[in-house]
């Protein structure tokens, strides 16, 4: 499983010219390994900028989709809304439409709102893409794990649906919200098609776009540089994983047991 990953890091440490030598040098001597490729990336590529862009998109997507999908999940699980079963069904079936399939009408919408070539053009549409699944997971969690008697007792005390949302739903659904947030956080580190269509100027690119553009710009051969860049791009994700290990497993597996 880890062999390809190991090979990537080793190749990132090799001189560019040697990455095409045959036979491939799988266990190179330490002498030929150095950090010059990384130095090149830091000096010649706006790496930090791309990383900050990606982090900004990731945090905003997590925040927006967290708020919207928890409100929707609470509505669908508890509130008395006419036709909510049908509306929920429609939202769930949106998952069947490939995100990229909507690229033309969504792109028109983005230009209408003057969101092309802006990070918000990515954030708002990523949020729209992840809402159905997030809502589905949160609704299931609320229904299975939070007793509606708690809501009732808040209402008895004269609280409103806002009180329930803030003091019951949000705190008690927090494990599920954390899980959903992890999935949504990783998404901007992953997605290429939409971001590549929206983010045209170099200084606002996110990492997937920047890496793919760098690869194309370097005539698809400077593997040392490319892998230095991809290795660096993996670091924040690995740190994120190490920090949130406990939630990671629930994050990735949430929704799966109930089916």
């Amino acid at each position: 499983m880890v062999i390809p990953m190991y090979y990537m890091i080793v190749s990132a440490l090799k001189d560019n010219a040697t990455t095409f030598i045959y036979p491939p040098d799988f266990f190179p001597s330490l002498k030929i390994l150095d950090f010059r490729n990384f130095q090149y990336i830091i000096e010649n590529v706006l790496f930090l900028r791309y990383l900050l862009n990606t982090l900004f998109v990731a945090f905003m997507t997590v925040l927006l989709s967290g708020i919207i999908s928890s409100l929707l999940a609470y509505s669908f699980a508890r509130l008395n809304i006419p036709g909510k079963k049908i509306i929920f069904g429609i939202i769930i079936s949106i998952m069947l439409v490939p995100g990229l399939a909507l690229i033309v009408p969504q792109f028109e919408l983005a230009s209408w709102f003057k969101l092309t070539n802006k990070l918000w053009g990515v954030i708002l549409f990523y949020t729209a893409w992840v809402i159905p699944f997030s809502t589905f997971l949160l609704k299931g969690y609320i229904e299975d794990n939070i007793s509606s008697e708690l809501d009732e007792s808040i209402f008895m005390d004269g609280g409103s649906v806002f009180t329930v949302y803030r003091h019951i739903i949000i705190p008690m659904a927090s494990p599920s919200i954390a899980a959903v947030s992890i999935l949504n956080f990783l998404f901007p580190f992953e997605e290429l098609g939409w971001s590549q269509a929206i983010l045209k100027s170099d200084e606002i690119r996110t990492l997937p776009v920047a890496i793919s553009m760098f690869f194309k710009a370097h005539s698809q051969t400077d593997w040392g540089y490319v892998f230095a860049m991809t290795t660096m791009a993996m670091i924040p994700v690995i740190i994120f994983y190490l920090l949130l290990q406990k939630y990671f497993v629930t994050g990735l597996s949430s929704g799966s047991i109930k089916g």
Binding site: M8, N80, L102, I103, I131, V161, V249
Partner: protein
């Protein structure tokens, strides 16, 4: 009992005031604007020769776009490629993931290195792993070196990314490799939720390991199997990045999957109507596959 329910219903009805709508409507409006409206727009576009730009006219085409897609050999090939990708990668990564999960189920605490090894492909961006596989499957890459020089099973280096099926095989290997970890995680969670006393009872009855697997484990994790099957199939139809980076659909559009072909038609060929019709067809296919999968897993009881 009936009265209690009625009372509760009444209370809830009373609560459906402006506050309820304030909770519900912002999200619904967001979805309506950013998702539902584009879906409807796409549906409309698929009947027009859609052009964007100042003073552009978009003549009505009827079903012509659909005819164009369904008579286009590249579109058909892209749909076949997508189905092949789904049919191979989905069961394979589920079986391997489940096998690994069964193997390590008894182990209390896996060491960090092991866990990182399995999760790393899962959490690493598709862009990164696709580039990595492009390098490994290059003519003078690691894969050919292993096959030709180390194992000696192949005489000449294979031009993996240079023809349709070998390039798709590389993409499928990438898909399986990246997906195993996720399957392992969800099956491990499912296995740990199976009641232990079922196995104890089976032990008393002298059940074999195989019997235990087919009569206890598999029926107990059926929900998870269905979930994985549906999610992974939807994911397989959403494949874009691995193909875009590994081959870009080349050579000669031999390796296009539905979304890479749609992307090409949208941004290179500027056939908006065509790509809208293609999107509608793909969405229809995904719906059929999902209904089929739910039908199969529900109809044929594993137990």
């Amino acid at each position: 009992m009936d009265q209690v329910i009625k009372l509760k219903k009444k209370r809830k009805l009373n609560r459906a005031d402006w506050r309820t709508w304030l909770i519900f409507l912002p999200g619904i409006l967001f979805v309506l604007l950013f998702t539902i409206y584009p879906i409807l727009k796409m549906f409309v576009m698929s009947f027009f020769d859609w052009n964007i730009g100042f003073q552009a006219t978009s003549p009505f085409m009827g079903l012509q776009n659909y005819v164009d897609v369904l008579t286009d050999p590249i579109a058909i090939r892209a749909i076949i490629n997508t189905f092949v990708y789904a049919i191979v990668t989905v069961p394979l990564q589920m079986i391997i993931g489940l096998a690994v999960a069964l193997l390590i189920n008894g182990i209390k605490r896996l060491n960090l290195f092991f866990r990182l090894g399995y999760y790393l492909p899962v959490i690493t961006s598709w862009v990164v792993v696709a580039l990595l596989f492009r390098y490994i499957f290059a003519n003078s890459g690691l894969m050919n070196y292993f096959l030709v020089d180390v194992l000696g099973v192949v005489e000449e280096p294979v031009n993996w990314l240079g023809s349709r099926w070998s390039a798709l095989a590389s993409a499928m290997l990438l898909g399986v490799w990246k997906g195993i970890g996720w399957n392992m995680i969800i099956f491990l969670a499912a296995l740990q939720a199976v009641p232990k006393n079922l196995y104890e009872a089976a032990d008393i009855d002298g059940a074999s390991r195989r019997q235990k697997f087919f009569y206890i484990t598999l029926p107990s994790i059926k929900g998870t199997v269905t979930f994985a099957l549906v999610m992974l199939s939807i994911g397989a139809f959403n494949t874009y990045t691995p193909i875009a980076i590994l081959t870009g659909g080349n050579p000669m559009h031999q390796t296009e999957v539905v979304l890479t072909w749609m992307y090409f038609q949208t941004f290179e060929a500027l056939n908006m109507g065509y790509s809208a019709a293609l999107s509608m067809i793909v969405t229809g296919l995904i719906m059929l596959v999902t209904v089929f999968l739910f039908g199969v897993t529900r109809g044929k009881k594993v137990a």
